[in-house]
Symmetry: C2
Subunit: 343 residues, 2 copies
């Protein structure tokens, strides 16, 4: 890992609103003093940065997203794992290991009064799991499959971005629940991984296969649950193959996060009525309070070897934008994290 000067902080700034996936032209790495927390804040020395496609929306000017846009010129925000170095909040102490909304930087300022900060256990076998199976991606997979998708033994369960940080876990949880699981992913390698290692029943490479036709052949009785991370044309392909009273658990819209023009909804929207479907949107900021309920189950499945998870780890804060770009160009398998420090 590239060594930084210890007395300074390197951090990414949103210099302009990115066009499409050209993040390298819109984000700049700058260097400045190590930040000092104000009252109610913490200084966190970052260990890992979590790369999450949903943060793409914060880089747009849109005001109707689930959180206000990042101002141009501000530091780029995201979830991190790190160590509290200095606390000005009574609930946290120096030395605490935390999962928090921080900045893409060597050091974060975390604001427990304004956003989520959880103390996690230093003895966890792999601290990165707090950004994976035991963090927002894992909770989203768990609740999307079992609650919003309401998958049951015998159901046919389809998941897009199947080799991704959320989809790979969702498909395995559906297998544990007794479903037949079909993954949709963008390369032969990803498809081989989910069927060969994760136990999915089938996988479709959408770059080489007509997904609608393939699902028609694979699922003559229709798809009971679709766990969607992408929306766009793949959502249309699955909607036309849903079973009566099927459920669509809408976890992400990666195809439209960076859109500058209004994006039409699925052309098969009318299937919601024709097939009497339920579509539910959900995501992890709503699930923090459920961590104590979900994580013990996830840990048990992981430790039994029933829930595998892969990290795509990039070294060094200076490579954050390259790591982030993988989420949009299909370059990653599993969860992308950036390692910026050591415990």
């Amino acid at each position: 890992m590239t060594q930084k000067t210890p007395e300074t902080n390197r951090y990414w700034v949103l210099s302009s609103r990115p066009s499409g996936d050209a993040f390298d032209r819109a984000l700049d790495l700058e260097e400045g003093p190590i930040p000092s927390p104000d009252d109610g804040e913490l200084r966190v020395r970052n260990l890992y940065l979590s790369m999450d496609a949903g943060t793409r929306m914060w880089m747009t000017p849109r005001m109707d997203s689930y959180q206000p846009p990042t101002p141009v010129g501000a530091k780029v925000e995201g979830m991190v794992i790190g160590v509290v170095e200095k606390s000005r909040h009574a609930g946290y102490r120096a030395g605490d290991l935390v999962r928090a909304y921080g900045q893409w930087a060597d050091y974060s300022i975390a604001r427990p009064l304004a956003s989520y900060v959880a103390v996690v256990d230093r003895d966890e076998s792999d601290l990165r799991d707090y950004l994976g199976l035991l963090g927002p991606n894992g909770w989203t997979a768990y609740l999307g499959a079992l609650e919003y998708g309401a998958c049951r033994a015998g159901d046919t369960f389809v998941v897009s971005a199947a080799a991704g940080a959320t989809g790979s876990a969702a498909g395995q949880i559906a297998k544990i629940a007794g479903c037949r699981v079909i993954g949709i992913a963008g390369s032969k390698e990803k498809c081989d991984w989910v069927t060969g290692k994760l136990g999915f029943d089938e996988a479709l490479n959408y770059k080489e296969t007509d997904v609608a036709d393939a699902l028609r052949d694979l699922c003559p009785d229709g798809v009971d649950v679709y766990f969607d991370n992408v929306a766009g044309p793949i959502l249309d392909a699955v909607l036309s193959n849903m079973a009566l009273f099927g459920r669509v658990a809408l976890s992400g819209l990666i195809t439209s996060y960076g859109a500058e023009e209004p994006v039409p909804g699925p052309y098969k929207f009318d299937m919601i009525l024709m097939r009497r479907l339920t579509i539910t949107g959900f995501f992890s900021p709503d699930f923090y309070r459920r961590e104590p309920e979900i994580n013990p189950r996830m840990r048990a499945w992981r430790d039994e070897g029933r829930l595998l998870y892969r990290f795509d780890e990039v070294e060094g804060v200076e490579n954050t934008v390259a790591a982030y770009s993988k989420l949009f160009n299909g370059g990653n398998t599993g969860k992308v994290v950036v390692r910026v420090g050591d415990l």
Copy 2:
């Protein structure tokens, strides 16, 4: 009412697939012998024909609707109230009053083995109610408001086609449930009716008002439940004003039933994720078994004067197409029925 020759049957035939709302050029009234039921069938002398926008889809060639298309050259089908004249099914007797899928005609052939036929009570105060509050429109209003929309006291409830056969009942049921109710309709008269007579809190004339702007003003805390009968631009206008964790009960898609090109879904589809919405499609063919549970409540509310219902009654089978067209040109207030015979 125009008198027919008693020995013949007048019936509407789908001569070609209608373009848009030009039903008069695609449907022809023909005359032939009174039909004879085969084994398992009934001959029903029709009293009332129910005009329902959903039947528009059966006139298209599309195979992925909720029921197969009517073949060109076949009689037009729809729900009727009538008297069984001749039964070749052990469950029905001559003289039974029934609600059934029949034909737009003086006489129907009803097929209890293939489609829904229910014996109803001759002593009901207004037999037309079996096509309104006590029939598919009423059940759709009831379940859409209370179950799919899950409306609760204090919720803000918005309904489109608010002066229509389903919307007018849905809004009143939401009022009974303690909601603040805002109707969307296409004329001042309709708006005045739902606020003045039905007790809605507000009404928006979408032909003269920007619905998105108006809802933003009226509902600063957002819309909790949207009961949608129309989809299209009004759905977009409401989606952009939904409250977090809101519910959209999707009862109809009248704006796209006759479309010949693929119709995009709502441009605000991403609000499902941003606001964590649930959208559920539902309709009456799924609700027949719940009639014994729903109708006593509907009857009680009606008899207490809390649930008003208006019929837009057209006389004579020869005027069926004119009656049906009202559903698409905004010409009706309340439930459109065609009276074709007397008990």
